[in-house]
Amino acid sequence: MRGLTRMAVAAVGLAALMAGFFGQPAFAALTIEITGGAATQIPVAIVPFAHEAGGAQSVSGVIAADLARTGQFKLVDPSGVTPPPHHAADVHYSDWVSRGADALVIGHVDPSPNGRLTVTFRLLDVGSQASLASLSYTIEPSLVRVTAHEIADVIYQKLTGIRGVFDTRIAYVSQHGRRYQLMVADADGYNGRPIVTSLEPIISPAWSPHGNRIAYVSFEKGHPIVYVQSLNTGRRYVLAGFRGDNSAPAWSPGGRRLAVVLSKDGNSQIYIINADGTGLKRLTRSDGIDTEPKWSPDGRFLLFTSDRGGSPQIYRIPSDGGEASRLTFDGNYNVSPSFRPDGRAFAFIHRSRGAFQVAVQNLASGQMQVLTHSRLDQSPSFAPNGTMILYATELGGRGVLAEVSSDGTTNEHLIAASGDIKEPAWGPFPANH
């Protein structure tokens, strides 16, 4: 109850900050440490929870890994504080002031009836000695990692004012020899499960806005066909199975329509189709390749890749048709646009000096920034809160997934499992929030 009250206080504070006329929001009570000139990192200590399991099921370990991946936090080593505190009454704040921690996370895992567990955590502001959040979750033991992600989301939101994305999912394609699998996993790459297995290629998974369906392209019939599959039932249907290539599905913000790319009338062009497969109508008319449509968050525009001007570049077109305008001019290969969730910028793949790298361009200013230093990046997609970009790259001869912060300051490989991994897509916020 108390935690909820605190949350409400923080929300009021955030609204005040945005309005720009009143005080400091609760999360800003923490001082921010600047490292390397560019990154601002919040020093946070996460004490191992009492009675928690070890390894991949460690609640504090999952929280620490989640926060560290964002690049926005500096993890303060809690070892040496004895006994380690698990309840607010046990905290000696001087221990944490001397270690430079601005925030402290403590908690405990306790048995509950029917084999369930109760996970309790508290987030404390070291400077003001105030409790910023306190919540308990009674769960099946199999949900320990999911719960740890939810806790990390609460901590992230309290300390940054931004909604966290740790309790979201990603999709990607995994290839082992001749076997292709469309996988869905937690945002940190754990708990991957196949939703399609095929001996023919699969590309271009696209999450529906509510996260309950995935559209994708399968070559299982000998040529590319677009399917839509329910994640709850596993049932699927052909969305576009015309003569020629059917590919590049993209959901409209409301989920009622999709953009697809068809070659049935000659060169690859963009069409709009209802989610039930009816009402097909052509959107683009060019002599070149038009592909990779992506709807703007407000549904008014689509970004797409076209080589109508001689080289593949990114264009924008109104979603009800009309003139397309070219957006990228730097270099002769700019592809795979992905809107930032606020609609004001987009990520894409930019080729420069033979390297294919993730870049971001601001729509209003046209200014571009290359974010990565690798050689063969592909398929960038934004986290639903816009802070991170998931993409595929090559490492040691294999495809792996990687993340870069949207300002380019943090870059980490996420999944380096066996086999080749590519075509990642970051899913939306969970619908039940």
């Binding site: 590309i203 790319v261 990779e292 593949p312 592909q378």
Partner: protein, 176 residues
């Protein structure tokens, strides 16, 4: 066995074409296509009595050459492939019941979706060349595998140049 033989022929053909091809005109064309000429002799040395009667598979026949290779991000057919395309066009006109699938492919770099469209355009480019020579369009279909079915698996130009290609597959044959 047959796929092994086919691979040997394709490798030999690539080398032969590279060593005798005309000078490249575009700056983006890879200069590293100069594989050792030994591949030619190796391919021609392959003997398979089972298929020697069929010009489509006899390694001494130009019709056994099935792959047309492209420069990076290009669907332009290089002059060196004219004899190969003309031979297949003549065969298709002489055998009106024969049908081909032209399978377009690209290297792995960049966008999977753009590559899918580029592979389609490469296949269409070869189809257009054949129909201009008089082959009825009804005997030719196209499909693109984009970057999804690479023949060579490494992550550098030595493999990429082998994957930027259109394969000619006759109906009833095993494609890639």
């Amino acid at each position: 066995m047959r796929s092994i033989l086919l691979s040997a022929v394709l490798c030999g053909m690539l080398a032969a074409c590279a060593s005798t091809g005309p000078a490249h005109k575009a700056a983006v064309v890879d200069k590293s296509l100069n594989a050792p000429a030994a591949g030619t002799a190796q391919a021609q040395g392959v003997k398979n009595p089972e298929v020697s009667g069929n010009p489509l598979t006899n390694p001494n026949s130009i019709l056994s050459q099935r792959s047309i290779y492209f420069a990076y991000n290009s669907d332009a057919i290089k002059n060196r492939y004219r004899p190969l395309i003309e031979a297949h066009a003549k065969y298709l006109m002489d055998h009106s019941k024969a049908n081909v699938v032209l399978q377009g492919n690209t290297d792995e770099r960049g966008s999977a979706e753009y590559n899918l469209a580029l592979g389609e355009r490469r296949a269409t480019s070869v189809k257009n060349a054949m129909t201009l020579l008089g082959v009825p369009a009804s005997q030719i279909s196209t499909v693109s595998f984009g970057a999804e079915k690479p023949k060579a698996l490494c992550h550098n130009e030595s493999c990429w140049k082998q994957n930027r290609r259109v394969d000619i597959v006759y109906q009833g044959e095993q494609g890639d």
